[in-house]
Amino acid sequence: MIQWRPVYVICLREFKKFFREKSRLLGTLARPVLWLFVVGNGMGSLIKPQAGFSYLQFIFPGMIGMTILFSSIFSSISIVWDREFGFMKEMLVAPISRLSIVIGKTISGTLISVAQAIIILVLIPFLGIQITFIQFIEVVLVALLVSFCITSLGILIAARLTSFDGFNIIMNFLVMPMLFLSGAMYPVTAMPSALRHLTLINPLTYGIDAFKHVLLKNGTPPLGPEFPLSLDLLVVTAISIVMLTLAALSFRRKE
């Protein structure tokens, strides 16, 4: 059902294009830098450090989550680009299964997000935290899982999006709320209950909480992790599987 040579070449194409677009690489770094040092420092002056962590350090896991969110959604929305510019047809008429296309896009989207998350780690020395090699590996593993989850979600959306006009709606009504309601900027437990319920159905919330477990070790709520790590990983994995299955199914449709 899955043909690996096409999957490989679909990934290769995405990587080539990612590294060719210098602006995308730069944007990856610029956005979290802006958030961290402008918003982080501004808000940091209002919020006192708690349990040994400052506000700036608190939002860093959130910034990794944000980078993955934008990168994964962007990668999967490239399906809509491909459709609009005709390249999707080249793949659709090839003797390969639709599942191979979905898997290729998912793997490439995931790995590009992980790469961007790793790039963000260069900011660590400026935050006054230190990470061990083990922690670094843990960050990469969590990033893999979270990226996979968000990419699958993006592909599900892209499969249903018929034109590029829908992109702004997705950005404003899905991506931005997902970012703000994820515990990236403020602790989930500190939110009003209506917002907290929305936060609890957001997969990114659990992903970011997992990053807090890894990066803000021994932290306690509100600035530290708020859910058990096992719950975080379980929720993200479960949602990933559901999303990918739905994405594969909606891609299989043929008139």
Binding site: K89, L92, V93, A94, P95
Partner: protein, 327 residues
């Protein structure tokens, strides 16, 4: 055994019947053309043949494989060139071809050699590592032809292969297709609404409103229209019709404010005609039968209005030479 067999094929989109029970077959090595106006069902038929759409009823098969049930075998046996470009503008020519080779699982040891070979054929060897976004329309088309043939398909589908290209580039593309056909010995199935292009086909199916209304060689199709066609514009068409009927026993049809006469040896007939008419003649033109006339004869409509400028050119030429002759 025919390489493409289509049997009573029908495709319905909600209330619209895009393809309405068509049947035909294409022999191996043939250049087979689908000619018809926009929206006649040409692209829908191609999409069914290349397994992008499933038919509502009827069947189609390529190289012995059913298009609806054995899509992977059909896909491996065909090469496609769509109306709109399907290249990745952010990749180089070589990368686009390599992507294709991987999708079609081309033998690894052959890939590099085959890519170079095909780039050579379409004369893009020098642009191998250039990004597609810097290519002209004609170069993109050529690269797509190279890509369509890369995996040794048995049938090459060309959906409006020269749409949007200037006449010169169009001719170049055709030179390539003709050459490739000899070199690669493949069957070509193409759609077009350019008459001149359809003339290059071995056989043509004329399609309108989802039905095949004629299918034959270009020569035999044109023989359906008797003789040459003369377009005449006079100061008084009614009177002219009457005079033509009296003098030559021919029926002139009134069309778009002018007259249309079908006759043998039109070039010899025109001087006689002009001599006999007492009404003032504003313009005369002679057209040797084209596939458009065949289409006109069967449906009462022209395929495309853009065909007219060519005819006008003939008219001007003729009026000019006629005036000179009168002086």
């Amino acid at each position: 055994m025919p390489i493409i067999t289509v049997n009573n094929l029908t495709k319905q989109f909600k209330s619209l019947t895009a393809v309405d029970g068509i049947s035909f077959s294409v022999e191996e090595g043939e250049v087979f053309g689908f000619l018809g106006p926009n929206g006649a069902g040409k692209t829908t038929t191609i999409n069914i043949l290349c397994t992008l759409l499933t038919p509502t009823s009827g069947s189609a098969s390529i190289a012995g494989f059913d298009c609806a049930n054995s899509s992977d075998q059909v896909r491996a046996a065909i090469g496609l060139i769509f109306q709109d470009t399907t290249l990745d503008a952010g990749l180089t020519a070589y990368e686009n071809l390599k992507f294709h080779a991987y999708l079609y699982n081309l033998d690894r040891s052959l890939t590099e050699k085959r890519i170079d070979e095909m780039l050579g054929v379409v004369e893009l060897q020098a642009r191998k590592h250039d990004l597609i976004k810097n290519f002209s329309g004609g170069m993109k088309r050529r690269l797509e032809i190279a890509r369509g043939l890369l995996h040794y398909p048995r049938v090459l589908f060309l959906d409006e292969p020269t749409l949007g290209l200037d006449p010169q580039t169009r001719n170049t593309i055709w030179d390539f297709i003709t050459m490739l056909r000899k070199q690669e010995k493949i069957t070509v199935f193409m759609t077009t609404h350019y008459m001149e292009e359809a003339e290059n086909c071995d056989r043509i199916a004329i399609i309108d409103h989802g039905r095949i209304i004629a299918l034959d060689t270009p020569a035999r199709l044109k023989a359906m229209v008797h003789g040459d066609v003369i377009h005449l514009v006079t100061a008084n068409n009614k009177q002219a019709i009457e005079e033509i009927r009296k003098n030559f026993a021919l029926t002139a049809r009134e069309e778009n404010g002018g007259l249309v006469i079908e006759t043998e040896k039109g070039d010899e007939f025109i001087p006689k005609l002009l001599h006999a008419l007492t009404v003032q003649t504003l313009s005369v033109s002679l057209t040797k039968p084209t596939l458009n006339d065949v289409f006109l004869k069967i449906t009462g409509r022209t395929i495309r209005d853009e065909v007219l400028p060519d005819d006008k050119e003939v008219t001007r030429e003729f009026v000019r030479s006629h005036r000179r002759a009168q002086r």
